[in-house]
Amino acid sequence: MSALPLALARDERDRPPIEVAPTRAQRKRRPRLVYAIVSVAGIAVILLAQLLLSMLLSQGAYTISSLQTQQKEYARDVDDLTEQQQLHSSTQYLAASASALGMVSNTHRVFLRLSDGAVLGTPQAASASDGGIVDPTGDLVANAVAPKVPASIAASAGQDGAGTTATGQGGAAPSGAATGGSTQGGSAQGDAAQGDSSSAPTGPSALDGTAGTDAAGSATGGDVLPSPVTH
């Protein structure tokens, strides 16, 4: 029993050192390291992906949050603009604007009977002295929230009134006022400013502008406005 170890010891001294030759099974087992690397890398990738995903998700949350804020702001815009539109379409505002433009209501009603084409009533031009319905009584139907009639509307009406006496200069001042006032907003102001500017630069377009805007204005202003005006 003790002879074998001694013999082995002797052999070791004589022979060159030997190694344990890996068995086939052992050799097969070696590539496990690759698997370990792959799985560790896999876990790392998964973790990284998860991290990225959660970053994206939270980024999405921020995007949603900011979009919701934006949506809320737009909803406020809509509400605000709807309110402005409703107030500007109030009858009181329209009546006041029409008055400011020098319009009067025609109290002489005339009807056309379609069956025989008869004109019923006596056609008569409206005049401010007729009385009734707003001018000169004033608006008796109060509206505390109706917007103020912009200065440019009153100014463009003033231009028509001044047309009989003023020269080219008369046209220049209101148009300045109109463009100055138009920064406050309002489509009606834009129209007024347009009318003024188209009438100002050149003779021919001035004729077009006045003919288009006001019949009374063109009757008196037609003689005045074509004279050259410089800005």
């Binding site: 949350a61 009603r109 009977r113 009533g121």
Partner: protein
């Protein structure tokens, strides 16, 4: 160390370990199982935030969809004085901030300082209430620490006083008048609650929103009113009341075929945007409602056609029935009354009695039917009961049963004294004549459309036959003579249209019950076109001074009627007016 000792130590250590494990286990179960729900809730509460979602109050719109009342975004600016004052109090930085806020809101900076310093230790105070979106944004963008905002939706009436008498308004705790009050259950929205979890920097966690209760928007109430016509009628009425220096006026336009009220004007009337600035009556009370519905008065001669229609309908008279109108009429009990003008006996036909509005003539005819029959006709015409509108505070007027009619009232009720009615009820009488004798329920609200599209509050369209078609047509023909031959000849003229109308100049009873005073309530009521009535108009003016007869109301009637015919594109009359003899 003996073996026994070692074993004892081991036992003690084991027991201690076991005890600790037991304690921990117990605690674990306590936390994870017993208190789990409560702790989860606590944790959730600290992460989650609950917000109110607002159900918007519905709009009130007219027949064409013009918005008469709508809800708008408004904000209250609040402040935490404790935060904003800090340890430094009112220093230059704070003053600059408050100056900036005041510049945006248009307030006086001293008011803001007062609001902040009133209770320096508090966490809440108002800086401004009800600012609009642009001001809210401007102040928000100043980014001042300690300043916060509260959503406070408000009510705006874009058309102002146009239909303000009908639409009503909101108080701080709810609706106070008109349609706002009448249709509150339809209009009111219900607020909801929502909660979501948020991260430390306040960002909402995705998918964490929980709706505890969904907000419900209110429904849209559609009125039968035409806002443009309503404005015109209010303006025309106001101009006329001012011209004759009256105290008040009402005007109504009713479509005869279905009883829809196209316009119901009051002067003076409230602008619901400025309730505190509303006009005041003689005793200093704010005028907030609609007199056309809420105040009855002795209507006078506009009641006469109703009494005469009962006679014709019962077959006791025709438009050409001959009678004699005495200068003085003496009742069996010895009461005496006259006409508005002095005259001897006049040989009038029934039509002549109406066209000339003779009190004595009416009195000489009314006895042909019993008091009870006359009472029943008046009831069928809607006198003595509120209209189908059921306007808040609506007056049903005074119509005593026939058994209580005394010697004088049995005659004077025939010409509209000793009985009261609202303008709405008077409009109902003329709607009935215009509609061939069928009274339609007066309608102001066409319906309530809920957000889900369901329409409720649809009014009844069930008419009541009051008099025969023939009676109604004859009455319209008689009333047309008032305009062609009678007192309205010079004041009511609409080229191309035949108009049938009746005037009324009623005396106003003294408040002490001692007869009648010097004041009058004047009215003109009628329908047009007379050959095919489409619209009934009633204009009433209270206590006119410069003209005290119905001529005071006639110009407004004429304007309102012609505007109505124009607005709704009614065809001009094609047939000529029939001739009815007025005297014999």
């Amino acid at each position: 160390m003996s073996r026994r000792r070692i074993r004892a130590r081991f036992t003690i250590a084991a027991l201690a370990t076991f005890a600790i494990v037991v304690v921990f286990t117990f605690r674990l179960v306590d936390i994870q199982v017993v208190q789990a729900a409560q702790l989860n809730q606590q944790s959730y509460d600290s992460r989650s935030i609950e917000v109110t979602t607002y159900g918007t109050r519905g709009e009130v719109v007219d027949e064409n969809g013009t918005v008469l009342a709508s809800s708008v975004d408004r904000y209250n600016i609040t402040v935490a004085p404790k935060v904003i004052l800090g340890t430094h109090g009112v220093d230059s930085t704070l003053m600059k901030n408050l100056d900036d806020i005041a510049a945006k809101t248009g307030q006086n900076v001293q008011d803001l300082v007062a609001a902040v310093t009133k209770d320096p230790g508090s966490n809440f105070a108002y800086l401004a209430k009800g600012v609009d979106t642009s001001v809210f944004r401007a102040v928000r963008d100043l980014r001042i620490a300690g300043v916060a905002f509260e959503y406070a939706p408000a009510r705006v009436y874009p058309q102002g006083a146009t239909a303000g008498n009908l639409v009503g308004f909101m108080g701080t705790d709810g609706p106070l008048a008109g349609v706002e009050q009448m249709e509150n259950t339809c209009l009111a929205g219900t607020n909801g609650t929502e909660s979501y979890e948020r991260s430390q920097d306040g960002v909402q966690l995705p998918g964490s929103t929980v709706t505890q209760k969904a907000a419900q928007n209110g429904g849209t109430v559609k009125l039968t009113i035409d806002a443009d016509l309503q404005w015109f009628v209010q303006q025309a009425l106001g101009e006329q009341v001012q011209a004759v220096q009256g105290s008040w006026g009402t005007a109504m336009v009713v479509r005869v075929k279905d009883g829809h009220i196209m316009a119901a004007a009051d002067y003076p009337s409230v602008d619901p945007n400025d309730v505190n600035g509303a006009p005041r009556d003689a005793s200093g009370n704010l005028i907030l409602g609609s007199r056309a519905f809420t105040n009855s008065y002795e209507p006078g001669s506009v009641f006469k056609p109703m009494a005469m229609a009962a006679l014709i309908d019962q077959g006791k008279a025709t438009p050409t029935t001959q009678t004699i109108a005495p200068g003085w009429f003496t009742t069996p009990g010895g009461e005496r009354f006259t006409d508005a003008w002095a005259h001897d006996d006049i040989r009038y036909t029934l039509a002549g009695v109406l066209v000339n509005s003779s009190n004595t003539g009416v009195s000489s005819l009314v006895e042909r039917v019993s008091d009870q029959t006359r009472y029943q006709y008046m009831q069928k015409f809607g006198i003595g009961t509120t209209t189908a509108v059921h306007f808040p505070g609506e007056d049903k007027g005074i119509l005593r049963p026939a058994s209580q009619w005394d010697d004088l009232s049995r005659y004077e009720i025939g010409f509209g004294q000793g009985v009261t009615a609202t303008s709405a009820q008077v409009a109902g009488i003329y709607q009935t004549f215009g509609n061939g004798g069928v009274r339609m329920p007066l309608t102001l609200v066409e319906g309530c459309e809920h957000p889900d599209g369901i329409v409720t509050d649809v009014p009844s369209t069930q008419g009541t036959r009051v008099v025969a078609q023939k009676t109604a047509n004859e009455m319209v023909n008689i009333l047309e003579e008032t305009v062609t031959q009678g007192s309205l000849k010079s004041t009511v003229h609409i080229p191309g249209y035949r108009v049938a109308a009746k005037t009324g100049t009623a005396q106003v009873a003294l408040p002490n019950g001692q007869g009648y005073g010097p004041d009058h309530i004047v009215s003109v009521a009628g329908v047009a076109p007379a050959d095919d009535p489409q619209y009934a108009v009633v204009v009433t003016i209270g206590m006119p001074h410069t003209i005290t007869t119905s001529a005071a109301a006639a110009p407004a009637f004429s304007k309102v009627m012609s505007q109505t015919l124009t607005t709704f594109r009614v065809q001009p009359s094609t047939k000529p007016a029939p001739y009815i003899p007025l005297t014999w």
